[in-house]
């Protein structure tokens, strides 16, 4: 009576669903590449300055707050001026494109000789960041080194899409630790791949998508260590994921405590020997040190510290913890909390100036609350494996969130300026969404779980389409 759909009939091998989801996410990201205007992503010019400086000079940029920052190369400055970047950023009513031609004002000039100068001084606000993403991006830039700047920017943008696909793959692998049904795994992977903010960052010149992919790899290895006892090789894999995350963005280092914490929790619960846990830690330490030690050495030599070069921090506290909590965390109505972890997390586009419909955010928020309720219920009535998995996801999500606030407190103390943005939670998008997804499915009878998973995935595909159409309306209509 329930005839299989043509696509479902075609998906016979368990990994067939994965291929379908990856293919769809690739098409979706290509559509985002076509939709997002040049430089209309948070700090995209600053990130491109780093890529361009590294690719053109072969040297890492040096951050110096005493000098002017973000001074573009002549060709980037030309596009910023002609594309009206500064008019459109943070002004949702201003469209950076004009006229009805497929060529923007002054666009022909970019392909003409003599070419505009590509050199900048490297002193961008992205310059203190570690080099992993920028090294890869500079490689892509050099592959397209003879092309015009638009081709180079979009080639580097496409690199971020690779990391979105890797994140979707990690979501599939993580879901395989929880469910054997390939359709449910595919639904979870599709939900992750349809997260609108991840999609936009996945077509931006920005190190965020690579951080998310590396952190997702670590989350998968950590949660897998419940079912499969980890050894030195798994520990090494965890360390490499941590090292890549750390070398991509300073927030990556925050993931370090979760390796001993989660693996020790699992080992204690399952009665594994302390010796095997120390072997995992040895592998993790080796993997991390292999990648991170040279970078820390460089930081020490270049900046005199191994901490992120924030610059401008005052040793005199400008605010107390209660005052910080009152003003920036627990303010009346939790308005900033909602803005950060609902609106900005799920998707505010462009320079975070373009929201979609309130109802869409409310529905996404309701998904999280219903999922949290289901997870709480499952934790009380479910199996030890379910409790362990949920506890690990909660530790990863809540711990990462707490670390973000702790970092912001330090920045507010030094500068008085809060720095958090909703997308900073994306590195824990897998454990975060897994809690809600497991919770929602836990509310259903076993024979209905496939249906609930499919409905949720369909809803997120619609959320994604809504977001993309909103971006088109904001910039081009």
């Amino acid at each position: 009576m329930h005839a299989p759909t043509p696509m479902a009939s075609a998906v016979r091998h368990p990994t067939g669903w994965l291929v379908v989801v990856l293919a769809f996410v690739l098409i979706q990201q290509m559509a985002w590449l076509a939709a997002l205007p040049l430089w209309q992503s948070p700090d995209e010019p600053a990130h491109f300055h780093y890529v361009q400086y590294l690719a053109e000079t072969g040297r890492l940029p040096r951050f110096d707050r005493s000098r002017p920052t973000n001074v573009s190369s002549p060709e980037v400055a030309y596009t910023e001026r002609e594309a009206h970047l500064n008019d459109a950023a943070f002004h949702a009513d201003h469209r950076p494109v004009t006229g009805s031609s497929a060529m923007g004002p002054g666009e022909e000039r970019l392909a003409q000789s003599p070419p505009l100068d590509r050199l900048n001084d490297g002193n961008s606000t992205a310059a203190p960041y570690p080099p992993a993403y920028y090294g890869l991006a500079a490689g892509v830039y050099r592959v397209f080194g003879n092309a015009d700047i638009l081709t180079r920017v979009f080639a580097v943008r496409a690199l971020s899409t690779v990391f979105v696909l890797l994140t979707v793959l990690m979501a599939w692998l993580l879901a395989a630790e929880v469910w054997r049904q390939s359709f449910i795994r595919a639904a979870f992977a599709l939900i992750v791949g349809s997260q609108p903010m991840l999609s936009m960052m996945g077509v931006s010149v920005n190190n965020d998508a690579m951080l998310v992919a590396a952190a997702s790899g670590l989350a998968w290895l950590l949660l897998r260590s419940w079912r499969v006892e980890p050894g030195v090789a798994t520990g090494l894999g965890m360390g490499l994921c941590l090292g890549i995350a750390w070398l991509t963005k300073p927030q990556g280092m925050v993931l370090a405590p979760f390796i001993p914490l989660v693996t020790a929790g699992f080992a204690w619960h399952l009665g594994r020997s302390p010796g095997s846990w120390f072997r995992v830690m040895g592998g993790a330490a080796a993997g991390t040190a292999l990648l991170v030690a040279p970078w820390l050495g460089y930081l020490q030599q270049a900046y005199g510290t191994t901490l992120p070069a924030l610059g401008g921090l005052s040793p005199t506290p400008m605010t107390t913890l209660p005052r910080y909590l009152a003003e920036h965390v627990l303010q009346p109505g939790l308005s900033r909390t909602h803005t950060l972890w609902v609106e900005q997390y799920w998707g505010t586009f462009g320079w975070l100036d373009t929201r979609t419909h309130d109802l869409a955010y409310r529905i996404a928020e309701a998904f999280m609350w219903v999922g949290a309720f289901g997870a709480w219920r499952l934790a009380r009535r479910g199996t030890a494996a379910q409790r362990a998995m949920l506890a690990a996801c909660l530790v990863l999500t809540a711990g990462f969130l707490a670390a973000l606030y702790a970092a912001e407190y330090q920045v507010v103390r030094g500068t008085g300026i809060p720095m958090l943005q909703g997308r900073y939670l994306l590195p824990v998008v897998l454990p975060h969404l897994l809690i809600a997804f497991v919770g929602c499915l836990g509310l259903a009878r076993p024979e209905r779980r496939g249906l609930v998973a499919g409905w949720l995935a369909a809803g997120f595909v619609a959320f994604q389409a809504l977001s993309l159409l909103r971006v088109l309306e904001r910039y081009y209509a």
């Binding site: 329930h2 497929a102 630790e177 359709f183 499919g454 619609a462």
Partner: protein, 103 residues
Amino acid sequence: MPDTGKTLRPGLTLLILPILLMAGMAVLQAFQLGTEAAEGAGDLAWPDYLLRRMGQYKPALFKPPANGLLLGAYLLCSMVMAGVFATHGLRPTTELPEDPDHA
């Protein structure tokens, strides 16, 4: 996973409501996009106007008509994927029961 949801069974039907709302909002957004683009399009057909402006300051791969094909392919695939995922779960599963080692 064990059955822990008997008492909440009727509530599950409510899950379809937000999904329909999301899809409805996406359709309304598409209409709004078309309406606003039509206002500025002048003598041009509004999709042509929209795709031309989308192509500004982008490489040839993302200029019309390629960007139109990409966008069309994405919207079509979205509808297919949403339809497949929403209906596939109706099928009785033919896969193996859940492994007790799995959560």
